[in-house]
Structures are given as structure tokens and as C-alpha cells.
Amino acid sequence: MNFHFNFRYLLQHRMQPRSHFSRDWNMLQPRLTAVLAVVLGLSSTAQAHSLSTSYGQLETKTAHMTGPVLQLQLALSDLQLTLGWSTQRDLTWTMVKDQQPQILVYLQQQLVLHDSNRQSLACSWQSADSDWQLKQIQQQYYLQLSLQSNCPTAAWLHYRLFTQIHEHKALLQTPNGEQVLAEATPWLAL
């Protein structure tokens, strides 16, 4: 590499102790972020942030069904962030169950069934209390629940769960194999 650097230039600035280290914390704080960003960069490519992933299974064409059935596993940490639950308190199963109505409203809003022309349908999802269970996947706790729709004409599912979370994806098992849903690819043919 053709790289010339005048070391004398660097040495002209004597490596002296810094007199301004006594700056107070408030002044130092913005520096911390930037300098840590630089330190991070020393091997930034090696670090992936924790991944936000939902799992699910979809069933659409079984006798006696009134519409699609969706079994979901949702990370509790994703629910906590998205639904605005305090992150300053430990999250327990009691607290999750207490939030059941809020969770259901959220699911109704973000999992929308559409007809074959991709017009949204006025359908609802039902979920029995007994279907709510806790599951552990890869050192993380998940809420597992079943959703039953009353929408036999549904042809598409529009998935918009956790879209605010960085790189969130859903891995859905369908009769046609596994589908990966994300903010950029939210449509699932039923």
C-alpha cells in the first residue's frame, strides 16, 4: 500500500498528560458514546445484536375449521418493548397473564386477514385462556398461544408484529414450508 506518513509530525505533538481529564461527568458523557463506538469498531463485524424472532405454525385447510389457525411463539422481551411494559421491573408470568387483553388487542391489530384482492376483512382472532403457555427457546422465554379465526374466505395474512424492533422476523411453518416474514415481506398467502 502506498502510504506515507510523517511521524515527526505526530511526535511534534508531545504525548503529554492531559490537563482536562478533570472535566465533569456531564461533559464527559457525550465523549463516552463516541469513543466506545470507536472501540466497538475494532471488530464490529463480529458482533450481531440479539435477534428478535417470532415462531409460528399456520394451518388453513383442515375439516371443521372456520378459518386459519395460527400458533405463535412471541418473545416476552419483544412484547415488553413493543407494548410499553416497564423494563425497570422484573417480568413475571403473572404480569404477562395480566396483560392478556392488551396482547390480544395488539395481535388483532397487527395480524390482519385479507381476501384474495388483498382487501382487509373484518375478522377476529379468538384465543382460549388455556392455550397460553410459557416456552423457552434458546435461553429466552416465549409466550405460546393459539389463535383461531372466524374467516373462511381469508386468502392473505398481513404480518406486522414487532415492526419497530430492529430486524425482527417471523419464521412461520405453513403447509407449503417455512416462510420468513418481516417488515419488508409482510404478506403470507394462506
Partner: protein
């Protein structure tokens, strides 16, 4: 079959079609009926609510860089998205930081420009230099360091410049000067960490792995994830049991990031301590492949290079990684995976894809 799969069958779902999913999740999947008050997601340390929203986001971003804390990055990003854009340098600096962490370097540079228009400050120079180094552009990095002088940030100017000079291949000259910088005892922790990490990198290039490790070890407990990764990589061949012990201890407090979990699994493999972390790592890598993520594929390359050798996949993922980041460790990973320099140069002209 697990109880919840029986439950699915009750919905007349084809249990046969679900088998592949069970196979994938079987690594670490537990059906749990917890005591009502079992802690499922631990509370974060009390936030400093005294500052502005931007200050709190900056604090979250700092914490997110520590082992086991990367989920805070999502929280920081979520809070940032909820803010209306504001004409402050602090806002645009955070925006640049978020972008560079997602390898959106052009977006990060544009945000830095906005910040500079509003209030020139040393951080802008540091992040610009960082981005140039990730792109393997040491000349540009050196140029980016120069504005630090105008802010009378002599220490950071020297450190930033010496890192760039080392990356340009002049380690014999830069390393002794870095050692002189390190003789100062009075410096804030972040700057100390930056200095020690740069020293370790250059000592490694000078074929002094034990010295490189010694630069990192005293600061490990306060260091961010990349610092731990470098220490683990340097230590694995000589003292895998030490790596196993320290990373397993860390993992008890919070699930480690994939990059550290992979080093822990490698240490477990080298010391014949069972299969637990190797299975966790395998499931995590399988998840990354199922998600079809394009970012951070260095982890996948590492897995297929060291833990479950697969030359084709190691080469595929290290190449994909190199298209997005070209720091020395990325380069080394690509060469270890079978790439030649000529092939890597050609790869640069292509769009990343799986």
C-alpha cells in the same frame, strides 16, 4: 413428542409437517409451567432519568455494547424512532451510531455531516475514521483523525492516527508510539479501552500473542463485546480452559451474543467439557440461516470454519461478510476460509447476497 405438539394435533394440524420444526428447535426448547413470580425477563439497571431522552438513548447504546446486553440496542433504536428529528448534533450523532452498527455507512456519514453543520465536535472525526477503517481505507481514516487537533484533543488525535497507521501496515512504527501513549496513567475508561484494544491488535500483527493478551486482560471486566472477542481469540489456542471458565461465568448472568457464544462453544470443544454450548451455538446458527440474514455473517463463517467444518459455507459467509466489512479480522477470516486476495478484490464489485 412434546405436550404442545400434541396440543397442535388437537387443532387437526398435520403433525408430520411439523417434524422439521421440532428437529430445529429441539436443541434448546423447553415447555415450562413456571411459578407465577419466576423472573422471565430481568429488570434493567435503573435508568438515569435525569437527562434528556437523547442522553438516555446514548446511555442505552453504551450499555448495549457490554456482554449479554445487546438487546438494549433494540430498545435504544425503538426510543430513537419515537423521537421527532431535532436540529441537534447529539441527535445526528446517535443516528450515525445506530446506522454504522447496522453497516449503513453512507447513512451514517450523511448523519455525521448533519451533526457537523450544527456543531462541529471531536466525536464526528472519530466515527468518520472508524467507518473508513471498516472500509479498509486507512488513508481516509488518517485524514479523518486530523480535525481532532483543532479541538486540542491531542491524545485522541495520536491514538486515532496510530491506529490508522497500523492498519496501513506500518505497525513497527506505530506500536512503540502507542506504548508511549499507554504509559499515561490518567485517562478515562473508554479511551483506555480504545488504546488497549489498538495495542492488542498491533501486538498480534507483530506476532506477540501473549503480549496482545496482556494488553486486554486487566480491562476485560469493564470491556465491550469486541474486546472480549479479541481476548478470546487470542487466548483460545493457548488457554481454552480459561476462555471456557470466563465466558461460561458471563453467560450465567445473561445470554451471550452469538459471537461470544461461539467462542465459548469452541472452548468447550477444545477442552472436552461436553456439548451444551456447542448445541446452543448450532441452534443459534441454524436460526440465523433460517432468518436469511445478510448482516453479521462473520459468526456463521466462524461456526463453519471452527465448530462444524463446512468449507463451502465458511467461504460463502466469510465472503458475504467481507463485502460489508473489511477490518483485519474480517480479512483474516476470509483468507482462512479459502479466499484469495484476488478473489476478494473481485468480490468487492458485487452486491451482497445469499
Amino acid at each position: 413428542m412434546q405436550p404442545w405438539s400434541q396440543h397442535l394435533c388437537a387443532f387437526a394440524v398435520s403433525c408430520i409437517s411439523l417434524q422439521p420444526l421440532f428437529a430445529v428447535q429441539a436443541m434448546d426448547t423447553k415447555q415450562t409451567e413456571p411459578p407465577a413470580e419466576t423472573v422471565l425477563v430481568m429488570a434493567q439497571a435503573p435508568a438515569n432519568n435525569s437527562g434528556s431522552a437523547l442522553k438516555q438513548i446514548a446511555t442505552l447504546l453504551q450499555q448495549a455494547r457490554l456482554p449479554g446486553q445487546s438487546r438494549l440496542f433494540q430498545q435504544a433504536q425503538l426510543h430513537f424512532q419515537q423521537l421527532a428529528p431535532e436540529p441537534s448534533a447529539e441527535y445526528w450523532l446517535i443516528s450515525a451510531d445506530l446506522a454504522q452498527q447496522q453497516h449503513q455507512f453512507d447513512t451514517a456519514l450523511a448523519a455525521l455531516q448533519q451533526a457537523e453543520l450544527l456543531q462541529p465536535q471531536p466525536q464526528i472525526a472519530l466515527v468518520r475514521a472508524r467507518i473508513a477503517l471498516v472500509r479498509a481505507q486507512p488513508k481516509q481514516a488518517l485524514a479523518a483523525c486530523k480535525p481532532l487537533l483543532a479541538f486540542k484533543e491531542l491524545f485522541l488525535f495520536q491514538l486515532c492516527s496510530l491506529e490508522a497507521i497500523g492498519r496501513a501496515g506500518q505497525v513497527e512504527q506505530s506500536y512503540p508510539l502507542l506504548l508511549k501513549l499507554a504509559s499515561q496513567t490518567d485517562m478515562p475508561l473508554p479511551e483506555r479501552l480504545y488504546l488497549q484494544a489498538t495495542l492488542a491488535e498491533q501486538a498480534e500483527w507483530l506476532q506477540q500473542p501473549a503480549v496482545a493478551t496482556a494488553h486486554l486482560l486487566p480491562w476485560l471486566s469493564q470491556a465491550p463485546v469486541p474486546f472480549w472477542i479479541k481476548w478470546a481469540d487470542l487466548t483460545l489456542s493457548l488457554e481454552p480452559a480459561t476462555v471456557y471458565q470466563r465466558l461460561a461465568t458471563l453467560n450465567k448472568d445473561a445470554a451471550l451474543e452469538d459471537s461470544l457464544l461461539l467462542r465459548l462453544a469452541r472452548a468447550e470443544q477444545l477442552t472436552n467439557q461436553g456439548q451444551h454450548y456447542q448445541q446452543l451455538a448450532a441452534a443459534q446458527i441454524q436460526l440465523r440461516e433460517r432468518r436469511q440474514d445478510l448482516l453479521h455473517s462473520a459468526d456463521l463463517a466462524y461456526f463453519y470454519l471452527h465448530l462444524q467444518p463446512n468449507a463451502r459455507k465458511a467461504q460463502q459467509y466469510s465472503g458475504l461478510n467481507y463485502q460489508q466489512a473489511k477490518e483485519p479480522d474480517d480479512h483474516k477470516l476470509a483468507l482462512q476460509s479459502g479466499w484469495t486476495q484476488a478473489a476478494l478484490d473481485l468480490l468487492d464489485t458485487e452486491e451482497p447476497s445469499l
